[in-house]
Symmetry: C5
């Protein structure tokens, strides 16, 4: 199973697809099978020597930390000389390279798609201190120094809780039976989820039943929306971070409407706020695009 | 059926009407028939060569992306030399022109009519990446660079959900039977709408019934308020973006009171916040007015 | 009936009373009869030539737009040279004068009485575009340019909805039977009001009953509190803007407590937030006081 | 009964106790009898000539305005030359002195004890315009000009509402029977309180009953916590401002827990937000401490 | 029982463990027995002469004040010359040293782990004025002067309320029977907790029962999560400050999920907001790391 990142070019923009081969979905395992995913990544931060982290592994293992941080560039950045801004991308890439044995960094452009940020980063690490050290170094670059953090959520991956082979065999099979077959995704969406005390005080069996109702309508979207889940209770002001990749925003909207229509929705106290929609880009492209002026 | 933009001049201000000929209303099709709409648009960004997008088509098709972004000008803009601010409008218009084969841009002046913004843009595109690329270029102009984004909502148009010929024939006929006959609208209003879990967990039939109650009192206002709807669940922190054009603010206030008086209102968790009220202007006028100092 | 503005001087401050002769109260008509109101206004912006708007008429007519905007002065203003700040008042007055055939402007000092603003403006116009044009010109003055808008609410006046001669004869008579007899008011209070879906879904008869309960305890305060109401549903994130003038803050506090004690209060989702309390001043005085440094 | 302010020095800080001799408590009269209160105040702003306001009287009379404003110093202040900052205290004291015939000013240091402010002022005046004039002059000093207002609440004192000799004789006697006997208080706490529509729609008798339950557990704390109440409905976004002085923070915490445990708490929509905790200081000390840099 | 702070070095970062030997847990006593804790602290601010406060004692005594403050560094800091920033750490350490007879200061790095802050401090003092004096001096250093306070909560320690030997013998024994045996903790988490009026209006017996349900699932985590509790009702906008140290974020997440699953959770009106996650560091390291640029 090939699980490297995919860089490609559609309509004059660089994109990179980076979910990993075996994706833990919201409550399921989503086997990725698109041909696009079979290509090898060539982005600077993934062009790895043998010392780099193995992307396929860290993106599918439990017990991995995922840090999502969204940033807004301060106006002061554009008062720097153009040549100084031109040097920003190599400087950031050098920091990514320095930490490549400990963290994997994905970058997304959100400018024009949401008010709260211009870009966001997703950092994976086996050790949370390593993620913090990367973040600290990133913020010490010129680009990072002129960025304000808007949101910064920490989560950790876990094995499946509910829709397991043992507890819910048919649905588990359904989840494994279909994989992403759409175009290489150009969009990623990050949505924090927090549930109320009533949810957490349901019995295990009741929560399983609700998660089955939740999973049912999502089966149809396995082919065009990839999903990954992080747990955050107690380490951020959210219970979960849900992450999606798609190339079909219309289908994604339909998926989310169908999730709104199951009873589980009644237990949400946070679902979004913010909803972060970005295009999947190389880190180099994110820094370069945001460094340009007319 | 002529559906181009209309530029006109009322009491010393430039206005432009830009909804499109066949308007998808909140839950209906609204055939626009005002004579004003029969004139051709002459605004810079619509004076299109054959390469420009066809306005009538993109404004009525399903599956089109609508990006609404509101902006506030930073004080720093007014510390620029007057000559530099004078160059702002041509610079912005050049960016609009550069993207005219992929996006259509409408501009509105909100200064003095709301606290959260000075102006807002509505961008339509068949491809969301194209909209982002325009936004990114716009923000790289001097005017865009000195603007702070206050709100930025992404929506997508869809075919009618509820008040269709099949499901609700009489109301559907009512909606098609009346068109806008008022003066060319000088005002546009953008109101985000989010519904709670109880709404989404109603049966399809219950939601249809509520939307019929919602549609009934709106029929009387087809003649003086135009409407258009965008879907946003999962791609913004709202379920819908509702957009209106009118020249009769009093009638519009009455319409919204009548919508407050139907049971559907009980399912709202967001209705406004912000409510954005602006005057319909050419992009050139928006930039020029906001660039002036005493 | 004389209904011009009143300028007077109490304890070293300039005040101006500006409600208009026939005041539409929250749910009633309030005939103003104080002797103070019988004097003619002498403030710069009211010293009108024949071309000026007739104050008495615009303040009592339905279908008039009222724009309330609150402002906070940015620290940068006080870094301007004192001579530049000295020129601020004449510059603002010139703008008021330029627009006097289309808008009437009232100014209030809020510094020291609330955290969110230093002053606020109330602008009346028959045409909302005219109000926007004034606001835009005002913001282009040095004083306006160094002001941040904190709140900006648009409302429109209407004829009485509930306590009419036909629907509620006795209360209507009560409202007409008493007029303001207190000292010329030095204070104005602006309180936005938004009602929930339950309120709007009551029957007309139920709402009339609630408004009668609301009106009853207010009769006693007609003599020392003047009131005016604006409708904002759909054009601002509030349903109503309630505006008061008084010289007796203790009585006003009692009035508002008595309004809190009627069932209508249970339907409020916004009542204040912000509550804006200011002293009634001439525009010249507001600008001059806020331009001074020790 | 001596009721002047007390200045004293504990562990290298200047403190001043300023509640007044006869304190209107939350729902009671609290006779202050500590020996500390028997000393005379010597602070600059109280060292009054005969023209100064009588502190004991204004602090116990009904119908007096209390303005509470909290401030945060802007970073720009510390970019001023040290000599300029050294001149700040005399400049502020001169303004306090100028207004001493119309207002009484108390100052508190909050830096390090809360995030929203560095200091707060409590201003008493018989005429609210006089309080505004002081505030306006204070903000025109260098120190005031570099301060941002975080909260600014206006209240007015009233005679007792509930626990009167007539309505609740035993509790009224209990309240009068004990006075403050602790050390001179070094701490002041300001907590805004807003009650919901259900509270205000209770009958007078029901509210009296709840206030008796409220008063009962507070009797034990009369000896170590002083209290004063201001009414704000309609003139600020709160119904009450509650003000406390104590030297025993642990006892104060216990008092507030006991107030949380009575049914009245169920009617709160605002209790704190912010809770302001500060040390009682002279105005001179507040300005001097906050003007120092390492 | 040895209770000094522990400094150690894991993967290129300095850490310090500082909870104290006998830790008051949320509702229990947690005897710390890890070998790591048996080492002596060597951090600058603890390397104390005999005049320093005794750490073990102040961290376990009731009636001690704990002030938690979170900070964000302003962009202006990075515009200072590098040499000036290099001097920041010694300057801060000198302030810590100056106050060491009255306060104990712990420092944590939060950059990259949360959006609201870059670092936070925990200050313990027997006298709250002493804590304020330290904070004031800290803010007067270059580093403090360029820091914005994001949150600042004051709490006080108390003896156990619920799970005492008398009231709940078995659970009390369970709490005493297990101690922390994990690796020296690298992470600290601070979570404010506020409970609603329903909670506070329960009987003492009902609250005891809920706290027993709360305590039960926490026993299993005594070995890898340390806990300490502060009371804040009336002195901050929270009822409690809960503080944790752990080296196992996954276990901590499980602990917090189990606390979400007991009925007590239904009484929370604030649980987090913010949740502050940081790495335990020496003060020197926090200042040095945040002072560096690429």
């Amino acid at each position: 199973m090939l699980t490297k990142c995919v860089s490609f070019r559609i309509r004059s923009s660089d994109f990179r697809s980076c979910l990993g081969a075996s994706v833990v979905v919201l409550a399921a395992v989503n086997v990725v099978s698109s041909t696009a995913m079979a290509q090898l990544a060539g982005g600077a931060q993934q062009s790895g020597t043998t010392a780099s982290l193995e992307r396929a592994k860290i993106l599918t293992a439990p017990g991995v930390f995922g840090v999502f941080s969204t940033y807004k560039i301060r106006p002061s950045y554009y008062r720097l000389a153009a040549t100084e801004r031109k040097g920003a991308a190599p400087e950031v890439l050098a920091v990514v390279d320095k930490h490549k044995t400990k963290v994997i960094v994905d970058a997304y452009l959100t400018r024009g798609l949401g008010a709260s940020s211009d870009y966001f980063l997703r950092v994976h690490a086996y050790d949370l201190v390593a993620a913090q050290e990367f973040m600290t170094d990133f913020r010490a670059t010129r680009f990072g120094m002129h960025s304000d953090v808007a949101e910064n959520l920490v989560g950790v991956t876990k094995a499946l809780n509910y829709i397991t082979k043992e507890q819910s065999a048919a649905l588990n099979a359904g989840l494994s039976g279909a994989g992403y077959t759409g175009d290489a995704p150009r969009y990623a969406i990050m949505i924090p989820v927090k549930k109320n005390a009533e949810w957490w005080n349901l019995t295990e069996a009741q929560r399983l039943k609700e998660m089955e109702s939740h999973t049912m309508p999502t089966l149809a979207y396995l082919v065009n929306v990839r999903r990954k889940l992080y747990h955050s209770t107690g380490i951020a002001d959210t219970d979960f971070i849900t992450y999606f990749e798609t190339n079909d925003i219309g289908a994604f909207n339909n998926l989310l409407v169908s999730l709104a229509q199951v009873p589980e929705n009644k237990y949400h106290v946070r679902w979004g706020s913010p909803t972060i929609l970005g295009t999947i880009q190389t880190m180099e492209n994110v820094v370069t695009v945001l460094s340009a002026t007319n």
